[in-house]
Symmetry: C2
């Protein structure tokens, strides 16, 4: 065999690229013919493809098994473990088998060609005897294990690119969460939810980060630390384990029909939590390079991180809402509803484009997708044909189910298949304590503060359940597996896995006993619950109205008078709400159905997405001061200004009144200029029986 050095120099316009443009010397066998090389190359690619198919098949089989077991458990009404817990167990089993049972002989697919260069660009071009092959960066292989690579090729093969989670598996899960959000209960508790999600997550992140920094410092002193572990790493760890998972516990809550407010608090918090944690963690990463070598505290870097957080979050939010609006407009102004297939396809594509758009703009796709889901549910859903409503609902339900179970079974598998685990007992114990304390520092102080202002107090038993129900799941896992290059990240990843396993199995499995121990009412019909709570805090409502309700009243008016009529067929016609000068525009934007269908639309509700009437009644809980007379004022007489100051109070009074009426499901086409004035006798206050006969399922 002759060694023929061959050099290949490339010129580049960009100076930045200079260090990467390397000339490599070929040191290899040139004896074989070109044809044989091609055949061998093709065979290799084929072999690799077969291997990939087989690996994916393992996961499909795992999921199939999980589905069958879930069915068995549901069939036999076992509740001690959730489907995600099952998926993890199966994943664990397969991981054990792959790790210890299977010894695949070194095959053609396992070819590892090593070139040693000093950079890892996203694209690599390999010159094979004059033919160029393009390679794409898959990720970093664990450091210092280069010599072992061939031995655990099989294990490395079943390892997915971590970006798969962010780009393929998480988006449908998060979108589904937004799309299936029970907006009525969500908005009723919006203040508390935002407090838990934003302040709580930040508190939890810093508490965990500080505790872990203490633990790590102690480990360094004791000599237990095998590598660098900076304060930013600790904070990063705090951010990723602060994301709670909405899946497991809430599925049980749903089945048991737990108190709706507890449900809304937990679900809302978990959903927004994920968004906050992902942006928070990327902000912390953005902080890191500024500290570069020192890794010490810097005010400027801190400010920069904060700016990144705000920018990324609001950007993602805006993008998500914008595409939601666009979809609503498109579905409103086309007669696409005659073709449910086209409509569903459009809905799916637009929702997906949110994600891609956000990623392409440098924002966070997952966060954008969450707010897109909420917007789609609030506006677009009303424009869809009933067939498409079912289709989209079922489609995202299926995608969510598959993605979720895939992630959890992968989680189980990765405990054994991941090759760079760093299990440090001290770090693990510290992390468990920190996670517990972090959650406590989130729930209890915030609940205390919120209870100061809340009409409907968050009871101590509810607080304990919220504390207990803070499971860690898909988002925590995805964030921790995203980067496992350094020692610190590897230790974090291993510890995170254990935290997820523990919380899903122990906390998830213990939810039912916990609920009965804490004497949380189960089997509550949301119907009854409402009339009760209405009775209880009817007196407090007036007190909190002025402090907390005004932003929501403004938003409600804006939404009801402008956004709803603009984006859907419901609500008052824009011709009535916009100032007279915008007359032609308003006529152009108002759909004919706005005049005809207004009343009718309130009835096409589902247990999945609550419609206009429900949303109105949710505001009722916050803002309504009941008017005993039962009088109805026809608002259609004359054009009215926008949110002008003098008109606002009157507007609000009217809106409140209307809301109260709607809350009782007596739908009045108040804003319809065609209808004559209607008079309805209301049941006497203070307990309007808001009838909500539907069960609330996730």
């Amino acid at each position: 065999m002759g060694f023929t050095p061959r050099s290949f120099v490339k010129s580049s316009k960009a100076l930045l690229l200079l260090p990467f443009l390397l000339t490599l010397l070929l040191v290899g066998s040139q004896g074989e013919s070109n044809a044989m090389d091609n055949v061998a190359t093709e065979r290799l690619a084929e072999e690799s493809h077969r291997q990939d198919s087989a690996n994916l098949l393992i996961f499909i089989m795992l999921l199939t098994l999980t589905i069958l077991t879930i069915w068995l458990f549901k069939h036999r009404r076992f509740r001690f473990i959730h489907e995600t817990g099952l998926a993890m167990i199966y994943g664990l089993l397969v991981g054990v088998i792959l790790r210890f049972g299977v010894h695949v002989p070194q095959s053609m697919s396992d070819v590892v060609l090593s070139c040693a260069v000093n950079a890892s660009p996203a694209t690599l071009l390999v010159n094979v005897s004059g033919r160029y092959y393009e390679y794409t960066l898959r990720g970093e292989v664990s450091r210092g294990k280069g010599h072992q690579v061939q031995d655990d090729e099989m294990l490395r093969k079943v390892t997915f690119d971590p970006e798969v989670f962010f780009n393929i598996l998480l988006p449908p899960i998060i979108f589904h969460a937004g799309y299936s959000l029970k907006r009525r209960h969500f908005f009723r508790n919006i203040g508390s939810i935002l407090a838990y999600a934003f302040m709580g997550t930040v508190i939890s992140c810093f508490v965990i980060g500080l505790i872990m920094y203490g633990v790590v410092s102690f480990m360094k002193v004791v000599g237990q630390l095998g590598g660098d572990f900076f304060f930013t790493d600790c904070l990063f760890f705090g951010a990723i384990v602060s994301a709670t998972d909405p899946v497991t516990v809430l599925a049980i809550f749903n089945e048991l029909k737990v108190d709706v407010d507890l449900y809304a608090l937990l679900f809302g918090e978990s959903v927004l939590n994920d968004a906050v944690a992902i942006v928070l963690s990327s902000s912390i990463v953005a902080y890191q390079p500024a500290g570069d070598n020192s890794h010490s505290f810097e005010a400027m870097a801190m400010l920069k991180s904060f700016g990144v957080f705000l920018g990324v979050f609001s950007g993602s939010f805006a993008l998500g809402v914008a595409t939601g609006f666009m979809t609503a407009l498109v579905t409103k102004f086309t007669k696409l509803r005659d073709f449910p297939l086209l409509e569903t396809a459009l809905f799916f594509l637009m929702s997906w484009s949110t994600f891609l758009l956000a990623e392409a703009c440098g924002f966070t796709g997952v966060v954008a997708v969450l707010f897109c889901g909420i917007t789609q549910a609030h506006y677009t859903f009303n424009n869809l044909s009933p067939d498409s409503q079912d289709r989209t609902k079922q489609l995202f339900e299926l995608l969510n189910f598959l993605a979720e179970n895939f992630i959890f079974s992968y989680m189980g598998l990765t405990l054994f298949s991941f090759q760079s685990h760093v299990f440090n007992p001290m770090f693990i114990v510290g992390a468990f304590v920190a996670v517990f304390l972090g959650r406590a520092a989130n729930i209890y102080p915030l609940s205390f503060l919120l209870n100061l202002g809340r009409k409907n107090k968050i009871g101590s038993n509810v607080q304990h359940v919220m504390m207990f129900a803070g499971l860690r799941g898909a988002m925590t896992f995805a964030l921790s597996i995203r980067d496992t290059a350094t020692y610190a990240r590897q230790m974090m990843f291993s510890t995170t896995l254990l935290i997820v396993f523990f919380t899903v199995w122990i906390c998830g499995g213990g939810t039912t006993p916990m609920l009965s121990f804490m004497s949380i009412p189960v089997g509550v019909d949301s119907d009854q619950d409402h009339s009760n709570s209405a009775v209880l805090d009817g007196s407090q409502r007036r007190n909190t109205k002025h402090e907390s309700a005004w932003p929501f009243r403004i938003w409600y008016n804006f939404d009801h008078n402008y956004l709803k009529p603009l984006l859907t067929h419901s609500g008052p016609p824009l011709t009535a709400t916009l100032p007279a000068c915008c007359g032609p525009l308003a006529r152009c934007l108002t759909s004919p159905q706005a005049y005809e269908n207004e009343g009718q639309l309130f009835d096409d509700d589902s247990d999945f997405i609550l419609n206009d009437a429900s949303v109105s009644s949710m505001y009722a809980d916050v803002t309504v001061s009941m008017d005993a007379s039962g009088r109805t004022i026809n608002r259609s007489s004359g054009p009215r200004g926008g949110p002008s100051d003098e008109g606002l109070d009157h507007e609000l009074a009217l809106a409140e009144h209307e809301v109260a009426i709607r809350g009782t499901r007596l739908v009045l086409p108040m804003d319809d200029p065609v209808e004559p004035p209607t008079t309805v006798t209301l049941p006497p206050p203070p307990s309007p029986p808001r009838s909500e006969p539907r069960r609330h399922r996730l």
Copy 2:
């Protein structure tokens, strides 16, 4: 800057790998710090991800636009262009814009690192300052254009890995075709369809191959040929352009309610066509290496190719059917139907696993998926809950729609974005002529031969329409883009694109005029058509029965007596059909519903998938000799043997009778031992009015 050579030697157990295990010398700048490298690497990966998102976004936007335009066309009842044609036009426009309009400045993402080695393994490990990055093979970059790569990076970026088509986009399309196959009409014309699909495709392949070989030889003489073009390449070209597309024309046929037999012939042919063409093309590729340098005809290689064809086709067929059976068994014996989400998920996963299993075993996933779809429709569909039936139907309809439009818009885009087009006017003209003649050599001679044996002659106008309607679409494109490494393949690809454009636009657009020109009856209710055809060929039926029907009669009996009862809840209980010795097993395998629901099940039909009753009546067209008496014999008395020779005739007579009765929708629980013997008076032969009030939509 210092040049630090660094060698990295890897040991391998497999001797085969020796030539690939190269030691590369690092020749590059080592001056930068490790940290800066990492940051740069991360930034590169991020940049690349953003670019990828933006590229995918282009396609999503394209699809959205297509959907809106489709709606507009449907809304305004334009029929001159199909949605796929529209998708192509939009793709073309974007391709033009990307090619000539956008000049993206060289960005960080465009880093091309070139190592020159003599092999291109599937996995490449790059050693960057002690950290190992894994790269996966993405594909070959056009030969000899290495110096241009940086300039048209943008265009290369929007180019997908051709395997995406085979692994992601084609499977749902083909599965949907199988799942939505109108089995009644399909099986009624099964003989003709198989003849067109197998013999026809092979004839077409060889005719086109021979003509192209003539063209290529002439081009070589004239000096128009810029590279090698072997006979096997010509045959390969023949195989890939022989795959006709079921989409465009049939959508129009569906809307116009064209004659059901013509529809069945075309749809059945197109669907099986694809399977034959893909296996045929891989057989031809398998032939190639044997001829190695000579590329001349070799009997042994030919036989080997034929063996490959048979092996791959039957293997894929068996796998597809096997997973279909498995799904049917699982859905039958579990009460999964109580949970539509789980059921749908299982259905989806099992169908996907067919593909992966086939690919992992070295068979053709797309073919396996086709037969899996047919099996799922025939058996599993009956076991699903009505909710899941809708869900699966809608899910695959959506996936099919998205995948199809994606492929067609990508096709449009690739005309401009693909960088190695070889447009040779002589080759293109030759190819168009060859494709035309190949189609003619498929349809006309085979139709003549088939008409000799067919009761229901294929009229010359029907033949002309079949000739005209042989559009080339997704499969042809996917096969031709799969390998564009050599000059021959590049020329094929460019020519194939033009053929697809031409057939989709001209033939697809001209379908409606063609139908009226050929005076094909449109607006035919399949109902009427049946009673007509029953009258017309009642006399011929007896003649053709004995030649062509026996394999189907045996199959029908087997299916009806054993497979249906085993795999679904319908059909006679296995206790009645299996021999007495298998009693316990039969009791175990027969579901309770088999006794109860037998009659009921015949009624839960849909226009999407025809159920048992329809399938029975389809056999009726082939096999029934009507028994005038109307007598019914209760078959449940006494155990009967399996397909024993002496019992078979009696069995068949009974089956035929039953079929005739079923054909008239008078459902008799003949094999039900619980029911007393029933007597029904049949309408007099020879024209049983088979009532089929349902519209047939795809």
